[in-house]
């Protein structure tokens, strides 16, 4: 069921974040990053910053949800990371028929609509509901900021999660 060559699906509201990305690439090598975000994809300047933020040698594609669906419906040609800013983007992909088996939650900063869940990861009620939807759809949702630390399942981080 898993998408061929999809190495990591990660939620991080900074999308490509310097050293964090480098640390993940060491434990789970990939040569391509697909960042899915409607707002960033619509903005050429933001897309350019994303590409410049990635480690050398890593291809970066910034696409909208609509553009991501046909790309993810086929096996990926090379080892790929899928990056999104919020779990809501992932529920939109799942609703479009994209199967997700593993979701890593790595960075969701505090804002007025969010409550702290785990370390510096915070989520709004809507985002917690999205985590549950992903779990209901068969994905393992785990919280882990960097590969060197332990991973915690959604059920541990959110009471009543599964």
């Amino acid at each position: 069921m898993a998408i061929e060559n999809l190495v990591l699906t990660r939620i991080d509201d900074r999308l490509i974040h310097g050293q964090v990305m480098t640390a993940w690439l060491k434990v789970a090598p990939a040569s391509q990053i697909i960042a899915v975000d409607d707002a960033v994809a619509a903005d050429e300047f933001l897309s350019e910053i994303m590409a410049a933020a990635a480690p050398s040698g890593i291809k970066v594609k910034v696409v909208s949800v609509d553009q991501a669906v046909p790309i993810l419906q086929q096996p990926l040609a090379e080892k790929t990371y899928l990056l999104v800013k919020t779990p809501i983007t992932l529920t939109r992909l799942v609703a479009a028929g994209i199967p997700l088996t593993q979701v890593n939650v790595g960075g969701m900063g505090m804002n007025p609509s969010r409550k702290r869940l785990y370390k510096n990861i915070a989520a709004s009620d809507e985002e917690v509901a999205a985590f549950r939807q992903l779990a209901d759809a068969g994905a393992t949702v785990s919280f882990q900021i960097v590969p060197a630390e332990r991973s915690y399942d959604l059920s541990v981080v959110v009471k009543g999660g599964k």
Partner: protein, 131 residues
């Protein structure tokens, strides 16, 4: 004259400025910004814009940052939009000293190329016999 903002994680920016002052004496039209754990990326971005507007006196601004893809780099890059500002990443003492030297004569595009070349040229290794 082109303004210079040094932006980085922790005290690296202030450290590079202090090191350059040791060699060159007092330096004008320069500020430093430190990203700390309690600072949200957007707040740091606001600080970049505020400092940049103080430092840009009409000839533009160069922002030197430490880590590609890190928050100082990302937020500085965002701040350059629609402005005569540029970001160069890979902060080092040779890079900063070159920026101070270049801005006397060069315009912003030339300064960018000169500081990148100086930073690359500053990397060298010497191996002991037992290596």
């Amino acid at each position: 004259m082109i303004g210079i903002l040094i932006a980085g994680h922790g005290e690296i920016a202030a450290g590079v400025l202090s090191a350059a002052q040791l060699i060159l004496g007092p330096i004008d039209q320069v500020e430093t910004l430190a990203l700390t754990v309690d600072l949200a990326p957007e707040t740091f971005g606001d600080q970049v814009v505020a400092a940049g507007e103080r430092l840009d006196t009409g000839d533009g601004l160069v922002i030197l940052t430490d880590l590609r893809g890190g928050t100082p780099f990302n937020q500085s890059a965002l701040a350059t939009r629609d402005r005569r500002w540029a970001v160069v990443c890979g902060l080092s003492l040779p890079m900063f000293i070159q920026a101070i030297e270049s801005r006397v004569t060069a315009d912003l595009p030339d300064l960018i190329e000169q500081v990148k070349a100086a930073a690359a040229d500053g990397i060298v290794s010497i191996k002991g016999k037992a290596v």
